[in-house]
């Protein structure tokens, strides 16, 4: 409960701080609050607390480790965004919106009640609709916000419809009850339940931008201000995928085969389409948008293969991906424009940015010893253990395509002819953040089970 209260009160504080002339302390206060949140999470994980909040949220181990990841990512994001919002007057609304949407992520990781699922999705999305359009004078930003909002609202409609169908089928909103009564099958209308769950599945697939519900992603990612894109491709993705995991691991177990087949098709399509289209992009933001689709496909694939190790596999993949993606966007923000040619000769302009970008891209391409390698490895292992060697081969080939477009950027960094040879200056906060994030990516890759021993045992 305290994590939820802390996040919400931080949001309210950030909103009000500008009114009481405390603008300067927003940033330190938010960072301190997030650190406190990390401490709370660690404390609860170590103590093994299982908090049940009004039968609406269940804070067992898995939501807590996701919240931990959320807080760490948020700290990186705020450090990254601090300089970005410097010139703008309305720092506090941006920060407040982000903090509120993090509350949505928190709900999505821990819900046991369908209303909380809906609230989580909405609380997560509505601030992001606003943030996507926050570059008011830019038409693309407006387009992004409008598109995202319209399609997102549509998906929310599906979600709501799905929830009502499920309620009609089982007479309950509680996910645990739905699962248990659907297994028993007494007094349950199977058709209504299946239709309802499929609708929920599609709505969630929209949120994680799985193929064929992905069409909004590239435009929204490109149009939104880059920090917001970074936020969407890391924390929003984390929330949506964590919600997906919770749905799949608890509710859908009763008729696993129908949903597993659907989900396997969706995830393989997502992996293949995401990677193939990304290969032809020349705008880095768009490229990363499509590659994020591909990564979401891998997480979905991990979701389909339920085994005792699944939560760790999902968590590890999300950690590796979100950290790398954060690092990549961090570098992108410092560049002049978003074309791949902006990376030309980056190693001469700023070696730290070049190094971080290389590590991030190698990690996303799944090259050891970066974290991304073991992320993919665990997923493939689960897949092969489920006797789906063919799917593993498809995933491997798709990730080989990934190597192609990630290396386009690496090649540009190291051997492109620079268009603008001015050195790029970084603040010390940026430097610390970039170094830390690179170290984390490598450490996670070198000791892939350290987090398991620490958090999941």
């Amino acid at each position: 409960m305290k994590e939820l209260l802390l996040l919400s009160s931080l949001g309210i504080f950030a909103l009000l701080a500008e009114m009481i002339n405390a603008r300067k302390i927003i940033f330190p206060a938010v960072i301190a609050g997030l650190c406190l949140n990390i401490f709370f999470c660690l404390n609860d994980i170590m103590a093994g607390n299982n908090e049940n909040i009004f039968n609406m949220l269940l804070l067992d181990k898995i939501p807590l480790v996701f919240t931990l990841l959320l807080s760490v990512l948020a700290i990186f994001w705020f450090v990254m965004a601090k300089n970005y919002f410097k010139d703008e007057t309305n720092l506090s609304d941006h920060f407040a919106l982000v903090l509120f949407s993090m509350v949505g992520v928190f709900l999505l990781t821990s819900y046991t009640h369908m209303s909380m699922l809906f609230l989580g999705v909405e609380i997560l999305s509505i601030p992001v609709y606003v943030l996507a359009g926050s570059d008011k004078r830019n038409t693309y930003s407006n387009e992004a916000a409008f598109k995202y909002f319209l399609l997102g609202a549509f998906a929310s409609g599906f979600l709501l419809l799905g929830i009502t169908f499920v309620y009609g089928g089982t007479g309950s909103f509680n996910t645990l009850q739905i699962a248990s009564s659907s297994v028993l099958g007494a007094g349950v209308s199977k058709q209504l339940l299946t239709i309802g769950l499929l609708l929920i599945l599609f709505a969630m697939a929209f949120k994680v931008s799985a193929v064929p519900f992905h069409f909004w992603t590239p435009d929204v990612y490109t149009g939104a201000p880059t920090v917001v894109t970074a936020y969407m491709s890391t924390i929003v993705k984390l929330g949506a995928l964590a919600g997906f995991y919770r749905l799949f691991s608890i509710v859908l177990v009763f008729d696993a085969t129908t949903f597993t087949t659907t989900l396997i098709i969706i995830s393989v399509l997502t992996i293949v389409v995401g990677n193939v289209i990304a290969a032809s992009q020349s705008n880095t933001k768009r490229l990363l948008a499509f590659s994020s689709i591909g990564h979401a496909g891998f997480v979905l694939l991990a979701n389909t293969m339920l085994s005792p190790s699944t939560p760790y596999v999902v968590w590890y993949y999300l950690t590796a991906y979100t950290l790398s993606s954060m690092a990549a966007f961090w570098v992108l923000i410092k560049l002049d424009n978003h074309d791949i040619s902006a990376f030309n000769g980056l190693v001469k302009r700023n070696p730290l940015l070049a190094g971080t970008m290389t590590i991030a891209l190698l990690s996303m391409a799944g090259i050891p010893p970066m974290a991304g390698f073991f992320a993919k490895y665990f997923v493939l292992l689960n897949t092969i253990q489920n006797k789906s060697v063919l799917i593993a081969v498809i995933a491997i080939l798709a990730s080989l395509i990934g190597v192609y477009y990630y290396f386009k950027i690496i090649i540009a960094i190291f051997s492109g002819k620079e268009i603008n040879s001015a050195k790029i200056e970084l603040s010390w906060l940026d430097k610390i953040g970039l170094v830390l994030i690179s170290i984390l990516i490598i450490l996670l890759g070198v000791l892939p089970d350290a987090c398991y021993n620490l958090l999941f045992r």
Binding site: S309, Y312, V347, L362, I367, P368, P369, F373, Y377, L380, L381, I384, Q385, V389, A392, V393, I396, S399, L400, V403, Y404, F407, I410, I411, F414, S415, L447, P448, D449, Y452, N453
Partner: protein, 492 residues
């Protein structure tokens, strides 16, 4: 402890190297490589005296969930390759002296990181660890070729990278597949041997193909060689040396340790075809070398021929063949690095390595021509040079396997002499022309390096037992294991 030191020593020097100035950094890197060489020699020597010493084994838990261990061990086979790596890298680093290279610090650091990865590949006794080092070795060499390479390097290095990564991903699949069939899920090499032998013949064939793809691309064996000539020619000299001298030995070493004993039945079914492919590479590489006008490109093709013979010898799985392959790995490493260094000396002065533009260098620099000739004869496999021992054993091994094959494989000796001597004739003999007149004398540093290479070539030609004795026992064990498994199936 000693093996751990062998592994991490080069990397430990990287931060030190970065602290110094550009000029000093070369010396620091050389110190690092020489220290590593001393440790390598010491380990090799100790291993000959006391192979059971606990210092050759390092085993700690690495990833508990997957039951993967950080297990390094020095044994008869990999001690030779570690010796080769530690021996060659100082030469490679010294060859940067008197050359003007931009960003030299990054260049040298990448080389040292590369050395750690290579030693790791050879020492790893755990499949996952082996895979990690295998991939890790790819990143520094890729960056070396990309940043410091010649024209058109983006496309060529990219082709190289994707080719090798493509192979390794299939190896990863094979590793996971065998791992799932091991008792209590272990990546240990011995449980891999046990589990692999119990797979059905069909499964073993698939695992064999998946592994073979990765290794054959790395070596490279026809028809997976197409990345090699362009990459060798375009890479900077030191990159080519690392690639041809040490990195391709990762592939041949893995054939002995990680491929054939893991899936003996796969080997039994496929050996005919893979030996034929290897012999095709021998003939193809030699013929292509004959038609080249560019010295560096000729060396690249000749390398395809030589390693094809090594691979063929390994796939025969008899003692002479595999021992010959072991020895040839060492001597090919020395010879090819020496030849690329000769090539570098010529291109550095003449700004070209087109052989028909050169000629008459013998008249300008006598010392160079003598040393070049010794190195060249080592590659031609003249008796008393190291190349002879290896090729003789290899052909002996192949002869036991099949006489028809050996006729074709034996062509390498004739063709080798032909293209090498032709190259020597074009470059060194004849009249001095306007270009080669400016060749000048070679510097002391170059003289020392060339003399060392020549000395090594003759030394290893005279005392092959130093190497062969150490590896014999373990190779016998592996061969026995393979034949035991295949014989058991025949009985059934």
């Amino acid at each position: 402890m000693l093996v751990l030191l062998l592994l991490i020593l080069p990397v430990l020097f990287v931060p030190i190297l970065l602290l110094f100035s550009e000029k000093q950094s070369k010396n620091i890197a050389l110190v690092a490589a020489l220290t590593e060489m001393c440790v390598g020699f010491y380990a090799f020597y100790q291993y000959q005296i006391n192979p059971t010493c606990a210092c050759f084994n390092w085993n700690t838990i690495w990833i508990q969930n997957l039951n993967a261990n950080f297990h390094l061990q020095l044994n008869g086979i990999n001690s030779v390759l570690v010796l080769l790596t530690t021996l060659i890298v100082p030469f490679i680093i010294q060859s940067t002296f008197e050359r003007d290279i931009k960003n030299i610090k990054a260049y040298l650091s990448l080389m040292l990181i590369m050395q750690t990865a290579l030693v790791g590949v050879f020492l790893a006794q755990d499949a996952l660890l082996f895979y990690i080092f295998w991939e890790l070795a790819l990143i520094p060499i890729y960056l070396i070729c990309l940043v410091f390479g010649g024209e058109n390097r983006q496309k060529i290095t990219f082709k190289f990278f994707v080719y090798t990564l493509f192979g390794s991903l299939f190896m990863l699949l094979a590793i996971i597949y065998v791992w799932l069939h091991t008792e209590n899920r272990s990546f240990d090499i011995h449980s891999f041997y046990k589990a692999g032998a119990l797979l059905t013949a069909k499964e073993q064939l698939f695992v064999f193909i998946a592994f073979y793809l990765a290794f054959a691309i790395k070596i490279p064996i026809f028809p997976l060689h197409t990345w090699q000539p362009d990459t060798y020619v375009n890479a900077p000299t030191q990159g080519t040396m690392l690639l041809s001298g040490i990195m391709l030995k990762m592939g041949t070493y893995a054939l002995i340790i990680w491929l054939i004993p893991v899936v003996p039945l796969g080997w039994q079914q496929a050996s005919k075809y893979v030996i034929i492919l290897s012999v095709i590479s021998v003939v193809y590489g030699s013929l292509m070398a004959l038609t080249q006008h560019n010295f560096k490109r000729m060396l690249a093709y000749s390398s395809i021929g030589h390693v094809g013979l090594i691979a063929a010898g390994i796939f025969t799985m008899n003692l002479q063949g595999v021992q010959g392959a072991m020895y040839q790995m060492l001597s090919h490493g020395i010879n090819v690095v020496a030849l690329f260094f000769v090539c570098d000396i010529i291109t550095n002065r003449m700004k070209t390595d087109e052989m028909h533009k050169l000629g008459g260098i013998r008249n300008v620099s006598r010392v160079f021509s003598v040393l070049f000739l010794i190195i060249l004869l080592g590659s031609v496999a003249l008796p008393l040079t190291n190349g002879f021992v290896g090729e003789f054993l290899l052909l002996h091994g192949l002869f036991q396997y099949n006489t028809v094959v050996v006729v074709f494989a034996g062509l390498t000796v004739i063709f080798g002499a032909l293209y090498m001597l032709r190259a020597y004739q074009h470059i060194m003999h004849g009249d001095t022309n306007a270009l080669t007149e400016s060749f000048g004398v070679i510097t002391v540093n170059e003289k020392i390096l060339l003399a060392c290479f020549a000395g090594l070539i003759i030394f290893f030609g005279l005392f092959p037992n130093l190497i062969l004795d150490g590896s014999e026992n373990q190779i016998k064990q592996i061969i026995d294991h393979v034949h035991e498994v295949t014989a058991m199936v025949v009985k059934k």
